[in-house]
């Protein structure tokens, strides 16, 4: 029974495909997976928008949207109808073709990235040997579409927003990739299902063997999440769309359904990168405790994904936007050195496995944590240097 529930979607797909002739089966299977992913994440996009507004409202002691439907739960439907029926305005001076292609070019790589992620046991749409490389390869294509959107609008705000977005994405792609390297080193593979498999099993039959419960894994997770926030242009790294400075950045000249596509691609990118974080650091679809293994694997995956998205919303509700120089300093002077140190720590962890004396496990833990904590302290202090201690304004007493 548990196994059946776990493999519900896999057997459903096989059952549906079995009606077709032999030759059409692989193609039909692929199409089914694609439509399942697109359908599931489009629904999740709708749910996330309403939950985000609700949670942000509660964080600011407001109620959030509560007018459309019971508790405002039909708000996404209202938003969708509004987006679809709005006039699609293309600026007169715009480069029409590039302006049209930019949202399309953005949504394709994001959807491709979603295909890589193992959603549950035997539930990976495309199982590539170099899955994580594929993820980053298609992820880097999104920068181009942002540039296309900003440049083709022929608007200074759009161009400034696109330039900011590209500079930010290039800067934060490096810590993003480097923080995954430690996981790849320990798992010894680039394939995402195998990385999940490497995190299965339990220490002392009770504690999960997830990467996040090791010093390098925790540091890597934090670094990855910070870089992922910047990569998906979310607050506090939402400089490309800073509405108080440059209207809406590269989205300024978009309206109607093209805007909705951009918006959806942004959230899909968020889901993809959160799913990658779950896969790499939080044990993928593994249950946290052995006695909870009766819950289906895909339920665990989506529960973890939801938790991470809640974290993103929480951060967005708390932190103010960074300044551009702070953004760059943070990426190059803090995240990059920390992720390089993290790789060294991972190597330490790997090679200190040979020591088998009593207390070796604990000592290894403390040592690795110290090697990470000391640079964290000093790099953090260096970041704060050059900041004026206290400002006195002549006319603002």
């Amino acid at each position: 029974m548990t196994g059946q529930l776990d493999q519900l979607f896999v057997s459903l797909k096989q059952w549906l495909v079995s009606f077709l002739p032999q030759a059409a089966q692989p193609m039909a299977g692929i199409l089914l997976s694609i439509s399942a992913i697109i359908g599931a994440f489009a629904t999740m996009f709708a749910i996330t928008t309403i939950m985000e507004r609700k949670i942000l409202g509660r964080i600011q002691n407001r109620l959030g949207p509560n007018r459309v439907g019971p508790f405002g739960l039909l708000q996404p439907a209202a938003d969708g109808i509004k987006m679809l029926t709005k006039e699609d305005i293309v600026p007169f001076a715009a480069d029409k073709l590039v302006h049209f292609l930019a949202p399309v070019v953005l949504i394709i790589p994001v959807a491709l990235a979603l295909a890589m992620i193992p959603y549950g046991r035997n539930m990976t749409a495309v199982d590539l040997d170099a899955g994580i490389l594929f993820f980053f390869a298609v992820g880097s294509a999104t920068e181009l579409s942002v540039f296309m959107a900003g440049w083709s609008s022929q608007n200074k705000y759009s161009l400034v927003g696109a330039m900011r977005a590209i500079a930010q994405m290039i800067s934060y792609e490096m810590p993003l990739v480097l923080s995954t390297v430690s996981v790849l080193m320990m798992a010894g593979t680039l394939s995402l299902p195998l990385i999940v498999q490497a995190q299965s099993g339990y220490i002392y039959e009770i504690l999960p063997r997830w990467n996040v419960f090791t010093p390098w894994g925790l540091a890597g997770f934090v670094l990855f999440m910070i870089a992922a926030t910047a990569e998906s242009n979310r607050a506090p790294f939402d400089l490309p769309e800073a509405e108080s400075e440059i209207i809406a950045g590269y989205l300024t000249e978009y309206s109607g359904f093209k805007y909705a596509l951009f918006f959806m691609a942004e959230y899909w990118g968020l889901f993809a990168v959160s799913g990658l974080a779950v896969t790499l650091f939080l044990g993928g679809w593994n249950a946290p405790f052995p006695f909870l293994q009766w819950v289906p694997s895909w339920a665990w995956f989506f529960a973890k994904l939801g938790t991470i998205i809640f974290g993103f919303i929480w951060v967005r509700g708390t932190l103010p936007r960074l300044r551009l120089d702070q953004l760059m300093n943070f990426a190059w002077k803090f995240l990059l050195p920390m992720s390089l140190i993290n790789i060294v720590v991972t190597a330490m962890w790997h090679f200190s496995r040979v020591f088998q004396f009593v207390g070796a496990r604990e000592m290894r833990w403390v040592l690795c944590a110290l090697v990470l904590a000391i640079p964290y302290f000093f790099l953090g202090r260096a970041l704060g240097e050059g900041r004026p201690a206290k400002r006195n304004y002549k006319f603002a007493e």
Binding site: R58, I59, N61, R62, G317, T318, F334, F377, G380
Partner: protein, 216 residues
């Protein structure tokens, strides 16, 4: 150390998030169409015309002096002066506005018309639910829509209205006393001059005016 401030901030927002479900008194939002806050004493948006008594047409304080029309910065007041006269609150015959229109789509709520009015005839209103589907005719308010009774003004601004009312009452008393004195003097003079024709002054002679439909 780096990150302590972040944790402090995150704790604060977490407290807000949980607390908003625990204590409804944290939620400061008023659910507008169902719940309403009482308007503030000094709230103002668009001008209206004050009339005394029951008849909007008869009791209108405005004497069509057109100062407000001239002073209005966006020029949104349109007045046509009447040909005939009607008595004001002290019984003095005055002109009255044959038409008095305010285009509230142009009005910028500056209150200058109120400041310059020597007759306390135009005051600022607090109504705000003025949305219509017609942006031309429906936003050009005519005299019938603008005229609102003095009781309404007393409700909006009790102190100011009370002050104006006592002043008007005093002026009226003074005017009546003067009229009486004048009448007596005239009667005396008339009695001295020629006994047969003692005609009193028309204190409350009412001119028949068309009664406007009451809208407020």
């Amino acid at each position: 150390m780096l990150g302590t401030g972040l944790i402090k901030g995150m704790a604060q927002t977490a407290k807000n998030f949980v607390g908003s479900y625990q204590g409804p008194e944290r939620l400061v939002t008023v659910q507008y169409p169902e719940e309403r806050l009482a308007p503030k004493e000094n709230a103002r948006n668009f001008p209206f015309l004050v009339f005394d008594g029951d008849d909007a047409q008869k009791g209108l304080r405005c004497v069509a002096c057109q100062i407000c029309e001239k002073e209005c910065p966006p020029k949104c007041i349109y007045i046509n002066k009447s040909k005939d006269k009607k008595p004001d609150y002290i019984g003095k015959p005055q002109f009255y506005p044959a038409t008095f229109d305010i285009d509230i789509s142009v009005c910028m709520s500056c209150q200058i018309c109120v400041e310059v009015c020597p007759f306390d005839a135009i005051k600022m209103d607090k109504v705000f639910e003025l949305s219509t589907t017609d942006r031309f005719e429906a936003l050009l308010l005519h005299k019938t829509e603008l005229a609102k009774p003095n009781e309404y003004f007393q409700e909006l601004h009790p102190t100011e209205a009370a002050e104006i009312d006592t002043r008007f009452a005093e002026e009226k008393l003074k005017a009546e006393a003067k009229a009486k004195a004048d009448a007596e003097a005239k009667a005396k003079a008339a009695a001295i001059a020629a006994a047969p024709k003692p005609e009193p002054a028309p204190v409350d002679g009412s001119i028949p005016t068309p009664v406007a439909p009451k809208t407020i």
